[in-house]
């Protein structure tokens, strides 16, 4: 029992006070344990959804078409997609190897475009954060980049960026940069007023303030922006293939060509499924990286 008198003469805090304080944070930091966090709870629900999805697919294909060739040319059974679309696995001119050959350019365009969007988007947000006038001047055009039907202005884009890698990156940039800008700007502007005061008291200049205060504050919001942008970048890279014929052709090109012949329907679906899987993988990887970046200090990093 610590009495009041002990404290008066003590040079260190009484043990009880320290223990209380070191004990408490451990429980506070531990992630909230929710029902369904076990292995089964994690993987069973999506597995069941997948089974249902495949089941409905079989059901629809069976009921909608009387004849096998009609079905195969419209919505073939899942196993037909696997056999005719994904197999053989190792022939460079057909099946999975061919699809993967078209995936690499798509992956390249996605990652490069996303990288450019992040760098340029953060810079634009930083400039907008510097003064209200910059913000007012730039914001409408950031919105336009988001809302303009990119596909409608493809001739214009080709005019400026050519019809190879450049224009594909431009398409990805136009649709992926907006969430980077808005999230970063929001993050920069949500810097605590007292933190600003602290830096003012220490006579910190604009760049010190940006680098040591505002950008770290904006980091969690930027990470959210990157997660959103990564999904959009995948879509942008694929869609660009539908409009530009030069340069390295990606999975979008593969899908587009297979759309034109009904007999290629299993190939088309295999390409589409691969492209979607790529989107999922991107989302997971980017999600993991962005969560890792702020894991140590940000509260949200405890969840999910």
């Amino acid at each position: 029992m610590t009495t009041v008198d002990d404290v008066g003469s003590a040079t260190a805090l009484p043990e009880a006070a320290i223990d209380d304080e070191t004990g408490a944070p451990a429980t506070r930091v531990a992630p909230v344990k929710r029902a369904g966090d076990g292995f089964l709870g994690r993987f069973l629900p999506p597995a069941i959804m997948f089974a249902i999805f495949i089941g409905v697919w079989y059901l629809y294909s069976t009921l909608a078409f009387d004849q096998a060739f009609q079905r195969r040319n419209a919505l073939p059974y899942p196993h037909e997609v696997v056999v005719d679309g994904f197999l053989p696995l190792w022939d460079p001119r057909q099946g999975t190897r061919e699809i993967m050959g078209y995936m690499w350019p798509t992956i390249k365009v996605t990652l490069l475009g996303l990288g450019i969007s992040i760098v340029v988007g953060v810079c634009i947000a930083v400039v907008m954060n510097m003064s209200r006038y910059f913000e007012r001047a730039i914001f409408p055009y950031a919105v336009v980049a988001q809302t303009v039907p990119v596909l409608a202005i493809t001739p214009l884009l080709t005019q400026v960026f050519g019809d190879k890698l450049g224009v594909r990156l431009a398409v990805v940039f136009l649709i992926a940069v907006f969430p980077i800008i808005t999230n970063t700007l929001f993050g920069l502007q949500s810097t605590d007023r007292l933190h600003h005061d602290l830096f003012t008291l220490n006579k910190a200049g604009r760049w010190t303030r940006l680098w040591k205060l505002e950008l770290p504050t904006a980091l969690p919001a930027l990470m959210t922006g990157i997660r959103i942008a990564s999904g959009l970048a995948v879509i942008g890279a694929i869609v660009a293939d539908f409009f530009f014929n030069q340069g390295d052709k990606g999975i979008g090109f593969f899908i587009r060509v297979r759309q034109q012949k009904a007999a290629d329907r299993p190939d088309m679906l295999a390409g589409t499924i691969t492209a979607s899987l790529f989107g999922v993988v991107m989302f997971l990887i980017v999600g993991a990286i962005t969560a890792r970046a702020i894991r140590d200090w940000h509260d949200s990093a405890n969840h999910g």
Partner: protein, 258 residues
Amino acid sequence: MSVVDESLDQAARDTTARLRFDGLSMVFPDGTHALEDISFSVAPGEFTTVVGPSGCGKSTLLRIASGLERGYTGGCDVDRDSIGYVFQDATLLPWRTVQRNVELNAELHHVDKDERQRRAAKAIELVNLTGHEDKYPKQLSGGMKMRCSLARSLVLNPGVFLFDEPFGALDEITREFLNNELLRLFALEKFAALFITHSIAEAVFLSTRVLVMSARPGRIIGDYEVPFGAERPHDLRFEPAFAELCGRINDDLKGAHA
């Protein structure tokens, strides 16, 4: 146990550091009349505490003293070369560990790395956070955060030290422990201290002078020299003279609310 060595100390601190208000008034742009005709000064080696009802303008007074708030009328003359400011909240940067948070002020003042790490380590020891250097603020209790914040402002050896209810959120034992640490530090460093608190006992225990402020607009309605010497044993709090002074200040405060 000073934060820096005695020698460095003398060089780093401006011994003329002081703080003076002269007929200071403050009306915010929205018309809130926060302060009215405040006049007093704090010399090095003086520990002045302001007590007053919530919302009477105490924080505003500190913000004006620190240079954060402008738009006042009257005189405000503060040596801001080396100013220490402990905010009402801990205001730690969540992405920095305790060690790096404590280094922050020195870092922003371009103190070189070895030196600021050394000073930070001493300040951390002083507020009893040794062993927690690598923790992030979200892993600290409220009291630990406040001690970290205190350590951060100690690192610069301020000549003028502003405290805005730094211990208000702490439990009684921690608060009294830190009061003693602060007194020891004050005896050693002889800065000019302007301290704000809601606790009359804390005010009397720490200060050489206690000022009582009225409800908004804040005016000085009581001014007490504290007759106790530099040496302040813990059981000073139970002396009749101590209780008597607390009682008088309490009466003033009751009047302030009316």
